[in-house]
Amino acid sequence: MKDHRGRPLVAVTGIGTVTSLGWGREENWAKLCAGQSGITRITRFPTEHLRTTIAGTVADAPGPVLASPARTERLASFAIEEALAEARLGTPGHFPGPLFLGMPPVDIEWPARFELARRAHAASYPAMVAVATPETGIFETYAFGGVGERLAECFGTRGAPITLTTACATGATAIQLGVEAIQRGECEACIATGAEGSVQPEAVVRFSLLSALSTRNDDPARASRPFEKSRDGFVMAEGAAALVLENYESARARGAKIIGLVLGAGERADNFHRTRSNPNGQAILGAMRNALADAGLQPGQIDYVNGHGTGTPENDRMETFGMRAVFGETPPPISSNKSMIGHTLSAAGALEAAFSLLTIRDQMLPPTINYDEPDPNIPLDVVPNVKRAAKVAHVMSNSFGFGGQNVCLVLAAEPS
C-alpha cells in the first residue's frame, strides 16, 4: 500500500517509553491522562547555588551515579526492549533493520575530570591527558557513537547505527530518518529512539545561563506551565521512547498489530537566531505545512496537536502563531505533555510521537496541566488540566529546537 507520493506506508508496531512518571508505556500513559506530574526536586547531586533545583529525573539503579551517556543508554535500552516486546519482530539479539538514535551530545563529566586530576596530581589538561589511559574507559563511555554502538550490539540491529542531534527536535528527527529509510526501501523495519539522561550540574547551569529554565523551585509539580500566563521557562527532564517502524504491507503480512502510521514529516530550519525563532514564524509554519503536505492532508484533517509547548514565554507564543496561521480561526485542540514530564530534550520528539499514537489508540487527549490562568495572547484550546475523549484520526506532533531545527510529524490511525 502506497501513500499519495507513491511511497510505502510506514506503520508503528511497537512503542516503549520511560519518563519521570515511570517505566513503561501503559504506566506513563495512564499517569499522563490522569494529569500527574513527574517533576521533583533534584536529589542526584547538591543543588546549592543553582537557580533551578527541579527536574524530571529518572532514578539510576542503586549504586554510583551514572554519567549521562550511560544513563541515556539505560533509558533507551529499556524503551527499545518494551517496543520490541510489543512488536514481536526479530529474535533476542537479532533485529532485522537499522537503529536511529537521537541523543544529546555528551562530554566528559566532572567526576571523571576530578578523578583524572587526582591520578595526575595536577589539574592541567596536559597532566590529565598524560594519565588518561584506556583503562579509564573515557573514550568508549563518552564517544558520540558509543551509546549507539552498544545498543546496536545488544539488540543486533543491522548496519551502522545512526546517532543524531537536532536539539529539542532530536527525537522527531530520529523517527523521520527511520520513516525515510523505509520509504526509500532501504529496510522493511527499523528502530527509532530518542533518549535523554543528562540532568547533571553542568547541563543545568548551562541551560540556566540561557535563561531557559523555570525557577519555580518551591512547587516542582506546578513549575511546568505551557501556554499558561505565568509560565517562566521549561523544566529539564529525562526519559526515552522507542518506536518499531515497519513497512505497513510487510507488517500486515506477518500479522503484526498496527498501532498507527507515521503519515508524514516536515522540517524547516530557521536562520534568525541561535536560540530564538524568527518573529515572522516562517520556519515553524514551514515545518507544519511541510508535514501536512508530506502526509497529503489539509489542515482541517488534523484532529489534535501534540504541541512542542515547552513553557518558555517565547516558544509558546511562536507556537500559537504557527497554530493560528496554519489552522486559522478554529485550530484543533493542542496539549503539552511537557506540563507533566518536563522537557525531555533529545527524547521529547520521540516521547511525544509515542503519546500521539496512544492518543489515537485510546481516542483520548492528554491534558495540559497547571493551566490556571489563560494567557490572552494564546487563544488555543489546550485541553486544560483534564483529559478529554475525542475522535482522533490524525495528530500533528511539533518539535522546535534551539539552533533553528524544526520538525513536525503527522501520526494517523490505521486505514480502515
Binding site: 583524572l116 591527558v129 563518552y142 530550519a269
Partner: protein, 395 residues
C-alpha cells in the same frame, strides 16, 4: 520510484595545507610536498593545525564570529566556500543540510581552575562549590559554541541554508552516513540540492583528553602512516570539507559545472570482536557498489587513520580490490575524524575533475593514473566501515 543520479557541484575545503580547493590541490600535487605540523601547542602530540582564515569573507558579521569558537567558525567558513564554488548562494532557502559533528571547544582555563580547586575535596564539599564555580564562570555563548547541532545552526544563520538541518554524531562514521543519507534523499526526490560536511580542529586539549584514552593516538615525531610501527597510531589533523550535492537534472538545468558523480555510498559497523570482521564488512560494501563502477582506471583514496589494526583490515580488503593507484591523505593531512570522510571525497572529486591523482602521499602509495573512478574508504578508529564511489563528470 526512479533513482536520480547525484553529482558534486561545489567543494569547500580547508586543511593544514591551505585554504580552499586550489591551495590544497597544489600542495598535494607537489611531489616534494611536506606536512604542516604543530608540535608545540599540544606537545608532546604532533598535530596538523588549521591555517589562519579570512573569516570576514564568509562570516561577515563580527557578532556571528563572536558567537562561535574555532570549530564552528571553521565549518561555517568551509560551508560558505562550498556554496560559492557551486554558485548556489541563491538556492540556500530550499537547500538541505547534514553536518557531521563532534563537540565544540570547552573553556580550558575554567576547567583547569575548577579541577585544581575541587578535585581533592570530598564530594559533599566539592558538589556545591562546583555549582557555584560553573554558574559564575561559564559564559552563556560558550554553551552555544559547544553544542554539536549549532555548527548547522550557524550555517543556517550565516549562509541562510534552511531547507532542513540535521546533525549526525558518531566520530568517523557520522561523516560517511551524513553523505550517504544526504545523497539517498536527493536520489529518491526529497529535494534537489544539499550541503553536507564537517569540520575538525586537532589542536585542542579538550579533545586529546577524550581521544587519548582511546589508546590509538601516535606518540612521537611525525611519520607517514606506513612508517608508524605496530600498532600504529593516529595523528590528528585539523580540516573541514563541505560538499554541494545535487541531482544531475537539477545541476544541468541551472548550468552548474559538475565536478564529479557520486555513484554510491555504503556504510556498516562491524563489531570488530575478531580479526577479519572489518575486512569482511568492507568487502560486503564493495559488493553493493561495484556494479556502479565506471569503466577505466580505479584509484583509491584511503581513509586509513594510522591505527594499525584498522590499517591491516583495510589492507586486506584493498589487496583483493585490484585498484590501479592508492593515495593515503592521513600521511599528509592527519586524521580529521568527523570531517575526514568528506575531505577524502572532496579530494576524490578534485582528482576526477582534474584527471590526475595527488602525488604519492605515503611511501606505500602506488600508481600514477588518470582515474575514471575513485573509491574512498573510511575506517573508524573504533567502529565504522564506509565506502564512497565516484566517477568523472562525463562518465
Amino acid at each position: 520510484m526512479t533513482r536520480q543520479s547525484i553529482v558534486i557541484t561545489g567543494i569547500g575545503l580547508v586543511t593544514s595545507l591551505g585554504d580552499g580547493a586550489e591551495a590544497n590541490w597544489a600542495a598535494l600535487s607537489d611531489p616534494a610536498g611536506a606536512p604542516v605540523l604543530d608540535d608545540t601547542t599540544c606537545a608532546p602530540f604532533v598535530l596538523h593545525p588549521v591555517p589562519p582564515l579570512p573569516l570576514d569573507a564568509q562570516i561577515p558579521r563580527k557578532g556571528d564570529q563572536r558567537q562561535m569558537e574555532p570549530w564552528q567558525r571553521l565549518g561555517t567558513y568551509a560551508a560558505g566556500l562550498a556554496l560559492d564554488d557551486a554558485g548556489a548562494r541563491d538556492l540556500v532557502a530550499d537547500m538541505h543540510l547534514i553536518v557531521a559533528a563532534g563537540g565544540g571547544e570547552r573553556d580550558i582555563a575554567l576547567d583547569e581552575a575548577i579541577a585544581g580547586e575541587l578535585a581533592g575535596l570530598p564530594p559533599e564539599v566539592s558538589g556545591p562549590l562546583l555549582n557555584e564555580r560553573l554558574a559564575n564562570g561559564l559564559r552563556p555563548t560558550l554553551f552555544l559554541a559547544q553544542l554539536s547541532n549549532l555548527m548547522a545552526g550557524n550555517i543556517s544563520i550565516v549562509h541562510g541554508v534552511t531547507g532542513s538541518s540535521r546533525t549526525f554524531m558518531g566520530e568517523e562514521q557520522a561523516g560517511a552516513d551524513a553523505l550517504r543519507i544526504a545523497a539517498a534523499r536527493l536520489a529518491e526526490g526529497s529535494g534537489s540540492i544539499a550541503l553536507v560536511g564537517g569540520a575538525f580542529i586537532a589542536t585542542r586539549w579538550d579533545l586529546l583528553v577524550f581521544y587519548g584514552p582511546g589508546g590509538r593516538l601516535w606518540q612521537g615525531g611525525w611519520a607517514p602512516v606506513s612508517g608508524r610501527a605496530d600498532p600504529g597510531g593516529i595523528m590528528l589533523g585539523g580540516m573541514a570539507a563541505f560538499l554541494v550535492l545535487e541531482t544531475e537534472a537539477h545541476a544541468r538545468a541551472r548550468g552548474a559545472p559538475v565536478l564529479a558523480r557520486l555513484d554510491g555510498v555504503a556504510t556498516d559497523a562491524a563489531r570488530r570482536s575478531a580479526p577479519g570482521q572489518s575486512q569482511a564488512a568492507l568487502a560486503g560494501l564493495w559488493q553493493r557498489l561495484a556494479p556502479m563502477r565506471a569503466a577505466g582506471p580505479l584509484a583509491v583514496i584511503s581513509g586509513a587513520t594510522g591505527d594499525g589494526a584498522a590499517l591491516a583490515e583495510e589492507g586486506g580488503f584493498l589487496a583483493t580490490l585490484g585498484a590501479d593507484a592508492i593515495r593515503t591523505p592521513a600521511s599528509r593531512l592527519g586524521h580529521g575524524v568527523e570531517a575526514g570522510f568528506c575531505v577524502h571525497v572532496a579530494l576524490a572529486a578534485l582528482a576526477l575533475q582534474r584527471g590526475a591523482l595527488p602525488a604519492p602521499l605515503d611511501p606505500a602509495d602506488t600508481g600514477v593514473v588518470a582515474p575514471a573512478a575513485v573509491l574512498v574508504t573510511g575506517m573508524g578508529q573504533w567502529r565504522g566501515e564506509s565506502l564512497a564511489l565516484l566517477s568523472g563528470a562525463s562518465a
